[in-house]
């Protein structure tokens, strides 16, 4: 039997499946603003906002940070200046270029509504869009997409999660898919057809299989072909085990994300995770553990821009974390779990070159519970602003289904270019 590549199978084989295959899934749907692209990057582990975007102009900064303090702009290893008070970590050269090009907004003293210090509950709140951990089992981004889909009366994938599974922020009623590169050989069409039939009585697996094939159809033509190899005895690549000091590789993730987003018929929203921000010990300053992570992230974002090409002009990237870290260095040259932190909005569609912060200061009496940067901006204000101006999510949806009970977090306006 002739073995079709999966994408050919999708185009040629849909009819052959006697209608069991969901042909409507082959195209991705579009939001209210069909050109807009949104990337949401979850920084898991609690990013140290005082290191990523140091307030070097605050007179208490250097004393609290001690050996972790970054030097003023101009000195070796010094911060990259933004507005004379805030800077960027010296590893973030692309973000700094973006700021200069007015494509980056830095938010500071920002936090989700979560006020405890558990990573896992903090990430749950960051993703579920409520003010309580585990209050709902769906994510704000999915619910935002659902509000757009319901207006269109169709069910196609608006979003893709880069990874095997779908993070909470993208789970929910709207149809989304996940994609990650495969080292395994593709299935032949006959086997695939039989498995599709086998799942006919299983709604979950049937939907997942359909979503996977739709995503593969896009990715096959977008991403570079992966090497197929036999599986059981497939040798572990030499680089696959973590090695000290090796920066995380975002390149593959970011290329895949761009491959989806730059297509006219692709999804408009992509999410992926970054990890390694939980810097309890030996965090480093201009160099060291955190610096290495930031270098990799910065390079990944630069690659994202390059790979998106013209679509960058229509793109907004949001980077957010579950909470910040202690204002002071701890006993092991790191920082423990804190409260407010920094967040970033980046992209060609962004009205950037600004730091938005209602700065509470770092003096002893202005710290939250005497130890953390005090939150003065609700992260949901940023997310609401982006969703409403960029994806044209209605304000009624934002206030009811997307971020319930968030009236106090008023959307920040004019984050996007008009």
């Amino acid at each position: 039997m002739r073995t079709l590549k999966r994408r050919e199978f999708l185009h040629a084989g849909a009819l052959a499946l006697g209608g069991t295959f969901l042909t409507s899934r082959l195209a991705f749907a579009s939001t209210g603003n069909t050109k807009s692209r949104l990337v949401f990057i979850v920084m898991r582990g609690a990013l140290d906002g005082l290191a990523a975007a140091p307030p070097y102009g605050d007179s208490d900064y250097a004393g609290l940070r001690r050996e972790l303090a970054l030097k003023a702009p101009g000195s070796p290893g010094g911060v990259l200046p933004l507005n004379g008070f805030f800077g960027l970590h010296p590893s973030l050269t692309f973000l700094h270029d973006s700021y200069t090009a007015r494509e980056l907004v830095v938010f500071h003293a920002i936090a989700s509504p979560y006020r405890e210090r558990s990573h896992f509950d903090g990430q749950d709140v960051l993703e579920n869009g409520s003010s309580q951990a585990h209050a709902v089992q769906t994510g704000w981004l999915n619910r935002a997409l659902a509000s757009l889909q319901s207006g269109q009366g169709q069910s196609k994938e608006l979003g893709v999660a880069l990874g095997q599974n779908i993070p909470l922020v993208m789970r929910g009623p709207a149809s989304v898919t996940s994609w990650s590169p495969s080292k395994l050989a593709a299935l032949d069409d006959d086997t695939l057809e039989r498995i599709t039939d086998l799942y006919a009585g299983d709604p979950l697996l049937a939907a997942r299989l359909g979503d996977a094939l739709a995503a593969d159809a896009i990715a096959d033509s977008a991403a570079s072909p992966m090497q197929a190899a036999a599986a059981i005895g497939d040798a572990l690549p030499n680089q696959s085990l973590p090695q000290r000091g090796r920066p995380m590789r975002y390149t593959e993730l970011v290329r895949a994300a761009a491959g989806f987003l730059r297509r006219d018929d692709g999804p408009q929203v992509a999410v992926f995770d970054t990890t390694g921000w939980d810097t309890h010990a030996n965090e480093g300053n201009a160099e060291g553990q955190l610096a290495g992570r930031l270098v990799a992230l910065d390079a990944g974002l630069r690659t994202l821009k390059e790979e998106l090409g013209p679509a960058w002009a229509d793109t907004a990237v949001v980077l957010a974390t579950e909470f910040g870290r202690t204002a002071a260095t701890n006993g092991t040259r790191g920082t423990d779990h804190g409260t407010a932190t920094a967040a970033f909005l980046l992209g060609g569609a962004v009205q950037g070159g600004r730091v938005l912060a209602d700065w509470p200061g770092l003096s002893a009496h202005s710290l939250y519970q005497g130890r953390d940067l005090k939150p003065t901006t609700d992260l949901r204000s940023v997310l609401k602003g982006v969703l409403s101006e960029h994806l044209l999510v209605s304000s009624s949806a934002l206030e009811t289904s997307v971020f319930p009970n968030s009236a106090d977090a008023r959307p920040i306006k004019d984050l996007l270019r008009g």
């Binding site: 210090r117 558990s118 089992q137 997942r208 005895g233 006993g331 423990d336």
Partner: protein
């Protein structure tokens, strides 16, 4: 709803998937089959390649010392010579020493992970193995921190396995003093602000702050015992962190080299002196024993019992576990003083464990192991058997955070994850299909959960290898 406990539920939900003949062996009393596995000493992993955590750590500490010495020599060489010193002997030595540190952990990890896999594929006490996995995941460390690569397997063998049929409080203590946990959550260098070490370092005026690191204390309260809503405060976290200052490791790992390299060592000079109040109770300063006393109380706390009962019920029964089952398990925990076999018996005795078959989506680990058991595939030597775990997104000992792998279907049933599972199933089918009879195997592996649709699809497959692919891809093989 099932009338009586099913052998297939016993083998798949509480075990690691049936091997051919296992369902017949379980017979009409699945609960007895499970209870019998709880009797006797817990099975250990016997493999001559495996080393203790202390031995691995001691080797790593030696290599690190050599590296530092080599670096110093190389630096001296650079300053004393001109720029053309590319082949200077000391710089070559530094490079060799660096490579050596990196080489220590990797073979240890591969040996540990494949020994674990081999045990899972062949054990006739799969329930105990599943419980071991449960606890390893409860007390999770992750190899994305480099040093854990060399220690994660030994944490399971030295702290989890010996206690899996014992008392929770003993397991808790064994884990919190294990070098893997102390290093993973940074406690080995946490210093009491009023300790002797702090005074000494303060006099030296190095400009560095010395003090506590609250990572292990927080995760012990949040993840290992009470749970995040267990009623502790930030002050409890901070004070408990002070209580366990000094819980460290021997050898040259901190600022004061001494003790047996790689072994647990209480370092009194790092310990924060004084009585301390945790969760409203005062603990006198008894040094190391102060921490033990707090851990014993945490292990006996009602919140801990409910937290563990909920996790057990979620893991074995359903994503949203039935409240009655949770209550029953928690009561067994409290009334037995955390005697784990009593807790497990409550789990298998509660009717809810048997009434919702296939309610759990298999994790990649469950899926791979059940495939190897069902098809009686050999776990070869070396690292190649570990590849599918990585391909399917659950590389052994790499949950990525101290919270461990997530335990709900939505965390694992992504579209891309499903297609990888099917692609791998297909590769397995092509590899061994000509030597397996899926038509005969299906009822042996799935028992009464095998649906007519799957039975028919396998029977009508175009080839024996496709039949295996369809068996492994079937909805009932994806779940347990």
């Amino acid at each position: 709803m099932l009338e009586r406990p099913s052998p297939a539920v016993a083998a798949n939900r509480f075990g690691l998937g049936a091997r051919p003949g296992e369902l017949a062996q379980i017979g009409s009393q699945p609960r007895d089959w499970l209870r019998a596995q709880l009797a006797g000493a817990p099975p250990l992993v016997a493999d001559s390649e495996l080393r203790s955590s202390a031995e691995t750590l001691a080797r790593a500490l030696d290599a690190r010392r050599e590296l530092r010495a080599a670096k110093r020599a190389a630096a001296a060489e650079r300053t004393s010579q001109s720029s053309d010193t590319a082949d200077a002997p000391n710089q070559a030595n530094a490079l060799a020493a660096l490579t050596k540190v990196g080489q220590i952990y990797r073979p240890v990890y591969i040996a540990e992970a494949s020994a674990r896999f081999r045990q899972a594929a062949s054990t006739d006490r799969p329930f105990v193995e599943r419980l071991t996995y449960f606890w390893t995941n409860h007390f999770a460390v992750s190899i994305d921190k480099n040093i854990v690569l060399g220690l994660a397997g030994s944490l399971e063998r030295e702290a989890i396995r010996p206690n899996v049929l014992g008392r929770f409080s003993d397991m808790l203590l064994a884990v919190e003093r294990h070098p893997a946990m102390l290093l993973y959550l940074d406690n080995h260098m946490s210093v009491g602000p009023h300790s002797k070490a702090a005074r000494l370092l303060g006099r030296r005026q190095s400009g560095r702050r010395v003090g506590i690191n609250e990572n292990l204390a927080r995760e012990t309260l949040e993840l290992h015992t009470l749970g995040v809503h267990g009623g502790y405060t930030q002050a409890d976290v901070t004070t408990f962190a002070e209580v366990i200052t000094g819980w460290s490791i021997g050898g040259d790992v901190g600022r004061f080299p001494r003790g047996e390299p790689g072994e647990f060592l209480f370092r009194p000079e790092l310990h924060e002196p004084g009585a301390k109040v945790v969760l409203g109770k005062r603990y006198a300063d008894t040094g190391y024993d102060q921490g033990v006393a707090v851990l014993r109380d945490l292990a006996a706390n009602t919140a801990t019992a409910h937290f563990i009962a909920t996790k057990l019920a979620r893991h074995f029964i359903a994503d949203d576990p039935p409240a009655r089952a949770v209550e029953r398990i928690a009561n067994a925990f409290l009334s037995s003083d955390g005697h784990l076999p009593t807790v497990y018996r409550a789990l298998i005795e509660t009717p809810e464990s048997w009434t919702q078959p296939l309610s759990k989506y298999k994790t990649p680990n469950d899926y791979i192991v059940s495939t190897f058991r069902g098809l009686e595939l050999p776990v070869d030597a070396g690292r190649s058997p570990l590849a599918p775990f990585e391909v399917m997104g659950q590389r052994t000992y790499s949950p990525g955070s101290p919270a461990g792998w997530p335990d709900r279907g939505a965390d694992w049933d992504g579209a891309s994850a499903l297609i990888k599972r099917i692609e791998w199933a297909d590769a397995v089918g092509q590899r061994v299909g000509s030597r397996r009879d899926a038509v005969a195997l299906a009822p042996q592996l799935l028992g009464d959960s095998l649906t007519p649709a799957t039975r028919t699809a396998i029977a009508r497959a175009a080839s024996t290898s496709q039949a295996v692919t369809l068996l492994l891809s079937s909805p009932e093989f994806m779940r347990r």
